[in-house]
């Protein structure tokens, strides 16, 4: 049963990414780190439309969103990506947290239910990625188990990883802490919201896969 399900997911994924030469670029990380904000920025820059909705409330992205044929040019070199924005990975989801954020009880419960499914979906998609950008909130503790689990899984699968220390526009942000936590990876500091650090991002991404 599990194998059938796995094959079905693989087929759906292959159908989505049927265009040859596209690199499957996944955006992973904990909730509210800025994955969708960064994916939106890239999509807006190169195809003129966003990939998903952004919110201050965690778990806004509850399904994997894919945007294919995103042709990116950097330093005279072109690469075509299929961008997959994934739901934030978490070990706990409490609908009461959503109520505290101003969502009514029924919607909060529904959001929590969808968020749990989103986490499972995000994990299932890891195997299909060619390269992954792990987006971390640089104002938070980088040593959280979710961060370590995501990066450990990518390393176990030999998937190239670029780490983003996001939200550098905020006072509490520390790129150095993220670098110290993951010294074996390239870490790019940026503010996806303000569009700061995009050149360094493309530079590091092209160096990783180019």
């Amino acid at each position: 049963m599990l194998n059938i399900l796995k094959k079905f997911i693989q087929k759906v994924f292959n159908d989505i990414f049927s265009h040859r030469g596209e690199l499957k670029l996944g955006f992973y990380g904990p909730p509210n780190a800025g994955k969708t904000t960064l994916a939106n920025k890239i999509c807006m820059d190169w195809v003129g439309e966003e990939i998903g909705k952004v919110s201050e409330i965690a778990h806004e992205t509850r399904k994997v969103s894919v945007k294919g044929e995103v042709e990116v040019e950097h330093d005279g070199k072109k690469l075509t990506f299929a961008i997959a924005d994934t739901p934030g990975i978490a070990t706990k989801i409490d609908y009461e947290d959503f109520i505290k954020s101003g969502i009514n009880r029924a919607k909060a419960k529904q959001r929590a239910k969808e968020a749990t499914k989103g986490v499972i979906e995000a994990i299932k998609w890891i195997d299909n990625m060619d390269v992954v950008v792990v987006v971390l909130d640089a104002t938070k503790d980088p040593y959280s188990q979710v961060n370590i689990t995501i990066i450990g899984n990518l390393a176990a699968r030999d998937i190239p990883v670029l780490i983003i220390a996001n939200k550098t526009d905020l006072k509490k942000a520390s790129i150095k802490k993220v670098q110290a936590a993951f010294p074996q990876y390239d870490v790019v500091g940026m503010s996806a919201k303000k569009g700061k650090g995009m050149d360094e991002f493309y530079e590091a991404l092209f160096a990783l896969v180019g």
């Binding site: 070990t91 409490d94 419960k109 749990t116």
Partner: protein, 125 residues
Amino acid sequence: MVTLQLMPYSQIEGLSSLGIRKLLDVAKDDTVVLLQGRLKPEEETELIKATMEKINKDFKGIELAVVKPGKTKEGGFASIKNDIINAVLGDRQGFTLVGPANIVKAIKKDPDRIQLMMNKSRKRR
């Protein structure tokens, strides 16, 4: 009162998805589990997936910490011996903490200590 259950390495060796679910069932029962040895990254994601499937109005998920031992100054033969033991018998160094999120608010790690932040108002099932 918080119950801390110790689990020997033999119970997590080659942890299958059934084993993961067993581990989760213990943690769900308002118990903090201290496993000898470390979960592999794939086992950690299996545990997260299984946790997501079980979340409901009473069970909010888990706090998880996989703790590696600090680097020792062992070298030469001792280091090779440990590598061989780990390769043959599995990685018994370090430990894994799994606690239900309604009891454990957060787990903080630093090189010298582990801190379990507990929730003040626990919601019992």
